[in-house]
Symmetry: C2
Subunit: 438 residues, 2 copies
């Protein structure tokens, strides 16, 4: 994409309304614009990030056999009355009346609807386990929306729901999802630590939050260093094998990890001092087992192995997709701007033409641009070199290919890696090859 | 995907609530389920179709340089007050109050918001032309929702908006979009005819509807056969050349074409009798030039070439993405079910195992399934052959690979093309190769 023809409006100044770094950088890099309190429009670069994140989330859900559906944003109030949550939910639920005075709501989550859809389609234990997910916009009417997309009102979320015949099978589904989450966050280029979460009235140990480590995070976190050193993509866990999943689960959940809310100082003392890690984190995912709470409330039963009716055991599993754009920036930035992980960057590389109109520079840039894949951005604006450097750092492209008149004469460009700041002079052909290989 | 593990609930009986064939077939084939009046959840197969359509629409928008953004579903009422449409819109607009009693609405269209976003980012004529689009859920509170997703309330639409410095340039943008639309519909596997539409108070000729020809269509259509015979994908029109676009536009819009609303019997008499085609059509797209109506109303100006301020000229361009799933079925079905065009089919082929448990049948099926790409569906259910044949026809897979015990013994399967009903016996290897080549 040519920057001169692009809708990528960067801002030089820090917007006054932005209190945290990800919000500032998302506005300055032209990723989003606020259109109403806590509601954002995604500009081309922001949408690319949102879609890259969504695609990785999708692939890891599909990998464990979860099936994608798409439920609507608006739901009938009646459905929520059946579960008892319509009155319980409080003012964060956006309640709506249509022209016939029928009550609707903008879905903040989908336990009721998925249970209802499941019940219409599945009649026998033979069809279980099932896991269904969707990636859809949701709304929570936060009393004070802030921090940009980190605490917006209209937000994009992946929510998955599992259905199993019994507790043992539900636990296996839960463990399978935990593995998928660890893989997902690692592929997104961030370190996420699973922390045991409060299970409320249901009790038990089957609730985990996932926090991305970031110095600006909202929660304090305490964890055993063992957890931070794992390569989850390299785990050869057979996701169809309950024993393998159990062993994996025990290995992941045994080391100490807790947010300040759940922190247990006595247990913390038992972690060897050299392995204790304290920091801050941003919550980006939450998985939860809740048994047959919704299948019972909505009277959704299936025929069990003994011919009797049975209320399937459920879990729900959320990832904040739009929130992740902010959370990744919180974890990946410096004083000059965003440092996108390769897997989610809106553009893999920017070609910076330091002297537009110079035949040699133009030629070299056009040659690279013509040979490059679609996700290269060509900064062909009539701007000073300093502006181009600053904008490229701000927008956070993993690579910058810098084309100046001196080098162009000899077919040489400068290749800069945003994350390390490393620069080197390479031939035009090598530049493209290095970016594509990296 | 294995059908036995899939969330693809087909129905044997015709649902009583469905009045038209596409609605019946979408419910029976397990593509959607209604969750509230005029509001639908998309099950896995339906979502695949929706995404396939969206992707083709996206590629053709990108091809002409339109840039994708994503605006939120909810909008501030204030924005619509500035254009004067908040009060004018009537009861089809879903109006919402949030917890602070601020007025929001569920966007039925996005002229105001895109104009506002454009105005925040673009300051000079040098940055024009621009075209921005998004594919997002919208809501129109139809008084009587019906015909399934064809006239739903929550619906998915691609809407694009062009911004130009003057009328001549705006007309070029309009013509470019018309070409993109013809290519889009052809790639979707349907014949869409552009019809001049009523431009209302603005006047002029720059409004066209696109109707898919289907015997069950809502509108009568009259058109010159010349229009129905074009291969738009084979048109070598340079979309950056205004003259080429003008010549193309004249060629497309000169032959007679009109819906019954706009039908001119005198002009119709001038079409040679052998070229007159009458039929019915379903509207799936609409393009519209409206000048500076919204830039003026929202006071969004840029600096013109002469240094004076200038209100950009706009057009808007819609495609009903969710509606198209129904419209394509209206055009592509028979008494047994859907006949998906290859480009939008949820599954390219189904492997029908006629005798589950038979070692030879199972082996042949597993062998094909293991070698096949992801969009093959394996019907591994413990059902009779008749049920599998009927469901495959109903779901409309372009190809069926039928594996029975007699053929399996000799490594032979039956390959059926859904659209023609043609069947032939081929070797296992040839079956896969033929499907992938076709």
């Amino acid at each position: 994409m040519r920057l001169s023809r692009s809708f990528l409006p960067t801002l030089k100044e820090n917007p006054a309304e932005a209190q945290i770094v990800s919000h500032r950088l998302m506005l300055r890099a032209g990723l989003v614009r606020q259109t109403a309190s806590g509601i954002y429009a995604w500009l081309p670069a922001g949408l690319k990030v949102l879609r890259n994140i969504g695609q990785i989330v999708r692939e890891e859900q599909d990998r464990i056999g979860a099936q994608e559906v798409l439920m609507p944003t608006l739901q009938s109030a009646d459905l929520w009355r059946r579960s008892g949550r319509y009155d319980a939910y409080g003012p964060e639920m956006l309640r709506i009346q249509d022209r016939h005075k029928r009550e609707l709501l903008y879905g903040p989550t989908n336990e009721e609807m998925i249970t209802d859809l499941f019940g219409q389609a599945v009649k026998s234990y033979k069809e279980l386990p099932q896991a269904l997910y969707h990636i859809q916009w949701k709304f929570r009417d936060e009393v004070r929306p802030r921090f940009g997309v980190m605490r917006g009102r209209e937000f994009l979320m992946k929510d998955a729901y599992s259905f199993d015949v019994d507790y043992a099978s539900a636990v296996t589904s839960y463990r399978r999802m935990l593995l998928a989450y660890l893989r997902t966050f690692q592929r997104l280029g961030v370190q996420a630590v699973p922390m045991r979460a409060d299970t409320g009235p249901i009790g038990g140990e089957l609730s985990h939050e996932f926090l991305i480590l970031a110095p600006t995070g909202e929660s304090g976190v305490y964890y055993d260093a063992a957890l931070g050193e794992q390569d989850w993509l390299d785990e050869p866990v057979d996701t169809n094998n309950p024993e393998a999943l159990e062993a994996f689960f025990n290995r992941v959940t045994t080391p100490y990890a807790a947010t300040d809310e759940m922190h247990d100082t006595a247990a913390w003392e038992n972690v060897p001092a050299e392995r204790r890690r304290e920091g801050r984190g941003v919550e980006v995912g939450h998985i939860f087992y809740f048994g047959n709470k919704y299948t019972k409330a909505l009277d959704v039963s299936i025929t069990g192995p003994d011919g009797n009716k049975l209320y399937p055991e459920m879990g729900s599993y959320g990832i904040g997709v739009s929130r992740l754009t902010g959370a990744i920036i919180e974890a990946c930035h410096d004083e000059n701007g965003i440092i996108w992980p390769d897997s989610v960057a809106p553009f893999k590389a920017a070609i910076l033409n330091l002297k537009m109109g110079d035949t040699l520079c133009d030629d070299v840039c056009e040659r690279i641009y013509a040979a490059a894949p679609e996700d290269f951005l060509y900064d062909d604006r009539a701007e000073r070199a300093g502006v181009k450097f600053a904008d490229a750092d701000l927008m956070g492209h993993p690579w910058q290919i810098v084309v100046g008149p001196r080098g162009a004469k000899e077919g040489i460009v400068e290749l800069k890696r945003r994350a390390t700041g490393e620069r080197r002079e390479v031939s035009v052909d090598d530049a493209l090859a290095l970016v594509l290989a990296g």
